[in-house]
């Protein structure tokens, strides 16, 4: 069991940059999807995505910018946001007491696919020398550590759409063990690229839109780009430096279905077990939970197995636990999803309002949950769960508590 304070919230998303704008937007039940214009998406089943049109990242110099894939830029923007929100200047501390833990699913594919094309068309000399340091999954971790002089225990997690939640749990455990004083933790993803969209498409999960989790007419998810980073420290550290505590990470569970290379176990037993582990580590009972921020991938098996898992653990109380998938508004941020949803859930606790699922029109008896639909619902949320699931049956569940 651990109880680690969240003292900084950084988010860069299609629904806004910065926690205040993001929070104002996701209460409204609007869609933040837009047509893809960066490349010709005509050949893809989905021609829309959650995209960030204007990114405020003045702290990144043009000289550095050309060496970075977008997923690193997004991670740097969210990290800056989180540290400012936490009132924390890491350069004033021993560099070995801070760490960075970031998840992503894809790596820096915009950079990589462009350079791979150049490799095959122009030969070796056509490839940018920066590709080597731009594309790989740990590049954002490296860039954030350089920027803020972070030299302590750090880690990149690649576990498909569960990456960010697993990274945040890892960070919380390392802080809990006293190996770090401060951790930046979250996820980043830049999937609006031809190759990344192709992979989502051939996986069978990509929707032409609208993205409608738990709807009987659902047809998959729509991708979104962005990053979210939280600052983690112990409550004692936060109090000593006079930092505001927004919430606590209190428990975590992760399991693997072990049934199929892409699809989840239809019965949802693996996810149910991950929920039980999260509740047990947080020392919560199912009746303590006031809100579940669902994965809501909007595939047939994804939604049904998630609803079954919730029903398995919560029994009849599943009728009374509000569930929503705010990502229906801004897209599935894949490896960053859990982090963005954690930020949204902490803001929901602070604001007393559950952000909704949008685009839901047709009730699915297989997904018989208390779904918060179309607009935010007022609620007193003391304890919540955030769910993130990846291809191949990765399940991750984080328990969160209001400060």
């Amino acid at each position: 069991m651990y109880k680690i304070a969240i003292t900084g919230l950084g988010v860069v998303s299609p629904a806004g940059q910065g926690k205040v704008g993001f929070w104002q937007n996701i209460q409204t039940g609007q869609s933040f999807m837009s047509p893809i214009t960066r490349f010709d998406a005509a050949a893809y089943p989905s021609q829309i995505a959650g995209q960030i049109e204007e990114l405020a990242a003045k702290h990144i110099s043009p000289r550095l910018l050309k060496k970075l894939d977008r997923f690193s830029v997004l991670a740097l923007a969210a990290s800056e946001d989180a540290l400012q929100d936490a009132g924390l200047d890491l350069t004033q501390h021993d560099p070995y007491i801070s760490g960075v833990f970031l998840g992503n699913a894809l790596g820096g594919w915009l950079y990589a696919e462009t350079e791979l094309r150049d490799l095959y068309v122009e030969g070796r000399d056509g490839v940018s020398p920066y590709n080597a340091s731009a594309w790989f999954p740990a590049a954002p971790q490296g860039q954030v550590s350089i920027r803020y002089r972070i030299k302590g225990y750090s880690k990149t997690v690649v576990a498909d759409k569960a990456s960010a939640l697993i990274a945040i749990d890892h960070a919380a455990r390392i802080v809990d063990r006293g190996k770090l004083t401060f951790a930046l933790a979250g996820g980043t993803e830049a999937p609006v690229t031809p190759y990344a969209m192709l992979c989502c498409s051939t996986e069978g999960g990509l929707s032409p839109g609208p993205y409608r989790p738990f709807d009987k007419e659902r047809n998959g998810f729509v991708v979104g780009e962005g990053a979210a980073v939280v600052v983690l420290e112990t409550a004692d550290t936060a109090r000593q430096r006079g930092a505001e505590i927004y919430g606590f990470v209190t428990g975590f569970g992760t399991t693997c279905d072990g049934t199929h290379r892409i699809l989840p176990d239809v019965g949802g037993e693996g996810l149910a077990q991950a929920i039980r582990f999260a509740l047990a580590t947080a020392k919560y009972n199912p009746e303590d939970i006031d809100y579940i921020c669902a994965d809501g991938v909007a595939t047939e098996l994804g939604d049904i197995s998630e609803a079954r898992a919730i029903r398995t653990v919560f029994g009849d109380r599943a009728d009374q636990v509000p569930v929503s998938a705010p990502k229906s508004m801004y897209g599935h941020l894949l490896g960053a999803a859990g982090a963005v949803e954690l930020v949204g859930t902490v803001m929901a606790m602070q604001g007393g309002m559950i952000p909704p699922t949008i685009n839901h029109r047709f009730h699915d008896p297989e997904c018989n949950l208390d779904l918060v639909l179309d607009e935010g619902r007022r609620a007193d949320i003391g304890k919540a769960l955030v769910i993130a699931r990846g291809r191949g049956g990765v399940n991750a569940v984080m328990a969160v508590e209001r400060s």
């Binding site: 110099s61 043009p62 000289r63 060496k67 000399d125 940018s128 020398p129 920066y130 080597a132 340091s133």
Partner: protein, 77 residues
């Protein structure tokens, strides 16, 4: 434009350096903070600009801007 001015132009345009920091004495690594990957981009830029060929290792970021000007000038004869 002479060789030095053309090399300065490459450094400004490719690496967003300030023209006044590019002096003949400026060391590529310690003064201009160029790493090995930027050196590769510089080599490609010089080969295209001056239509010369540079061997692997012929340029190093231990050199100064003046050293690079001399190497290129010697190749141009």
């Amino acid at each position: 434009m002479d060789v030095e001015a053309r090399i300065t132009d490459i450094l400004v345009k490719s690496f967003h350096m300030e023209p006044d920091e590019i002096t003949p004495e400026a060391n590529l690594k310690t003064d201009l903070e160029m790493d090995s990957t930027e050196l590769v981009e510089l080599v490609i830029g010089l080969e295209q600009e001056f239509k010369v060929s540079l061997r692997d290792g012929e340029l190093s970021n231990k050199q100064s801007v003046g050293d690079i000007v001399k190497i290129i000038s010697d190749k141009l004869g």
